[in-house]
Symmetry: C2
Subunit: 213 residues, 2 copies
């Protein structure tokens, strides 16, 4: 059985819960509060020197890190990452787009709004994060004007990776009404078999997210 | 034949030149100066809506973007990305590490020092970029204390991806003497068959890189 070390309110971690649930695979979830230093303990760093969640561990003690690499491994041999080498590389292209051009803006804006104090100097970066995040959402919108999914002809790990933080982009102060194709795709993802939503953040986080910038 | 659209002084682009050369594959290189707006033309955006280099195009007009996804596609079926599914996923893990935890600091510090004006406000971010970049280099150093390569048992695309900007980290103001295992690995990469170095940046960039911060 796979053990997932993850923080439930992290989109990167939720990607794994969503895929494992949709694959109907059993897994053990170990909650690791990365926002409270739990990824910086000597024990955790011994397993993942980069000190991040998510991480998975197999029964025979093998470790794999990086959410999108884990998605690829879990999806190997399933319809979630199928097709010829070029089709699979196109999926990888979206996975790298997500980590380089999307997550550092869309996810980080949500993190700053919800997980930093109201007087944090990091809040000054929100307008720039929104600008760059909106560029990523515009790239997604353009793709979805002529495609149903990011993963190729059918739903798969590229959709799961991009869904994770796009579905909660409003918590980072993004207005998805400017991206109707993205909104429709979010609804399609929610209708996929065995879909499971990300757990709500802790109550003090929710109260900060509810405030204006 | 593959056409590569790339900017020669970009590490992300050089990854492809290095792998294609080491695979002894013919390719056509189209120079695209991303620092002068050439990735923001309507013609370029029609092929890559994300407006970045590198990008490859096949003879039958298929497009693939994201340097590390392209590395995977080119390396498919070669010793540069070999092993079982778990070994290949470990390579992907390093590729995502490179794009998320390394390139945004090590490469961006070099870009700011060499490609922005001396009075650019972006230069204020250099100390923070160095701090985060040094964290990535420390993760690499720890791995290399007990491994010869990042790609598994032999040199491959994880090494190519991490080499690209680590080999020019000094141009971003990083001091690699603190990372002797990284320095030794850089030399091992330079000794691999058909290795080709990244072309030097334009002369005005070189002159800025030679100045202190």
């Amino acid at each position: 059985m796979i053990t997932v070390y993850g923080y439930s309110s992290s989109g990167n971690c939720h990607k794994l819960r969503l895929l494992l649930t949709q694959l109907e695979r059993e897994f053990k979830w170990v909650e690791v509060d990365s926002t409270a230093g739990a990824t910086r303990t000597p024990e955790y760093l011994a397993k993942n020197p980069n000190g991040k969640v998510p991480m998975i561990e197999t029964d025979d003690g093998r470790i794999l890190t990086e959410s999108n690499a884990i998605l690829c491994w879990l999806a190997e041999g399933t319809p979630f990452w199928a097709g010829d080498a070029f089709a699979r590389a196109q999926v990888l292209s979206w996975l790298f787009f997500e980590q380089y051009s999307h997550e550092p803006y869309v996810a980080v804006a949500r993190f700053i709004r919800g997980w930093t104090q109201l007087d944090s100097p990091r809040r000054a970066s929100l307008p720039q994060l929104r600008e760059r995040g909106n560029q990523a959402l515009a790239v997604m919108e353009q793709h979805l004007k002529s495609h149903e999914w990011f993963n190729g002809d059918a739903y798969g790990i590229a959709d799961i990776a991009l869904f994770a933080y796009t579905a909660v982009a409003d918590e980072g102060g993004f207005d998805l009404s400017a991206f109707p194709a993205v909104q429709a795709w979010i609804e399609r993802v929610r209708q996929t078999p065995h879909f499971v939503a990300m757990p709500a953040p802790p109550v003090e986080v929710l109260s900060r997210l509810a405030l204006p910038d």
